[in-house]
């Protein structure tokens, strides 16, 4: 896979994509991310707006039709799930390097 402009994902993008595996509206995404990150990541309004527009542009998320047109609900697409899989492999590899520790014999 050719390296995408948004890869590797920033912390903000990562959390948003993980959150919208369930359909969520704008402000609820911020709340969900705050819970998921144990209060560490609080996405500001402008950052969330820009991230959602960017993710929509690359069709990694989609807007779901709702009864109330004022309430915009977002959900990850298949393409977005593919991206998460690529990122998961990358992070798992890095984690495996952490777990292997320092190999004394090579020093």
């Amino acid at each position: 896979m050719k390296k995408h402009k948004l890869l590797p994902l920033t912390e903000t993008m990562h959390y948003i994509l993980l959150a919208v595996r369930n359909p969520l509206h704008g402000y609820a995404i911020m709340q969900e991310v705050e819970v998921m990150s144990n209060g560490q990541v609080r996405i500001a309004a402008g950052t969330l707006y820009g991230a959602l527009e960017n993710l929509l542009k690359y069709e990694w998320i989609e807007r779901l039709p709702t009864e109330d047109p004022r309430r915009k609900v977002y959900r990850i697409t298949d393409e977005g799930l593919e991206i998460l899989k690529v990122e998961q492999e990358r992070l798992q590899h890095i984690l495996s390097l952490y777990e292997r520790g320092i190999r004394d014999e090579e020093i």
Partner: protein, 199 residues
């Protein structure tokens, strides 16, 4: 209290609006012409932020405003900029990570660059095209003006002077504006570079 003030630097404008709020003059509305409507308030624990966005369509603009409102930001109005007000609560920034902060600065950089380029190109094409701008005398178009004498001359001369000055002055005014935008462009370029270095 209504007030009009022209700012080149958006960050200075934002700082000024917040300094006014500290003094008890809270901006409650910004007209599309950029006139600030202030109200005298006792409680001034409010923060104003200025944002700059360009939208593909009306729907994109609506969803932008709705999202900010869900966060508790009150839309004070918009010129080419958007003005936002919120009680301070420790979440007073519009951007929470480096890449969106940088994208914000980049939008201004594009704006200043495009305006500066456009104004300077206008200036040069005006200066190249004709001569009324190099010699004030040639900015007077009345036929035979300089051959007239006495009262007749004075009347015709004074009558045309405002128009001649406008003709003569317009490219120089454009030049001053163009240079001002170019300076802002360089200033924001420097800001973007600083953010780049910090990452």
């Amino acid at each position: 209290m209504k007030k009009f003030k022209l700012f080149m630097d958006i960050q200075k404008e934002e700082a000024w609006l917040n300094a006014m709020a500290k003094k008890g003059w809270l901006c409650r509305h910004v007209s599309s012409l950029g006139i600030y409507h202030f109200e005298k308030t006792a409680a001034s624990e409010q923060i104003i932020r200025i944002d700059y966005q360009s939208f593909k369509n009306k729907e994109a603009k609506n969803s932008y405003i709705e999202l900010y409102e869900e966060y508790g930001w009150e839309h004070l109005g918009s010129t080419w900029l958007h003005y936002w007000l919120k009680p301070t609560d420790g979440r007073d920034e519009l951007f929470s990570d480096d890449s969106s902060q940088k994208a914000y600065l980049h939008r201004f950089l594009t704006y200043y660059g495009a305006m500066g380029f456009f104004l300077l190109m206008m200036t040069f094409s005006l200066l190249n095209n004709s001569s009324p701008y190099k010699n004030l005398k040639e900015a007077y178009f009345t036929p035979g003006l300089w051959e007239k004498e006495g009262g007749q001359f004075l009347f015709a001369f004074l009558f045309e002077t405002p128009f001649a000055l406008m003709r003569f002055g317009s490219p120089w005014l454009l030049l001053v504006w163009g240079i001002a935008f170019a300076i802002m462009y360089l200033k924001y370029l420097n800001k973007v570079r600083k953010v780049d270095k910090a990452i």
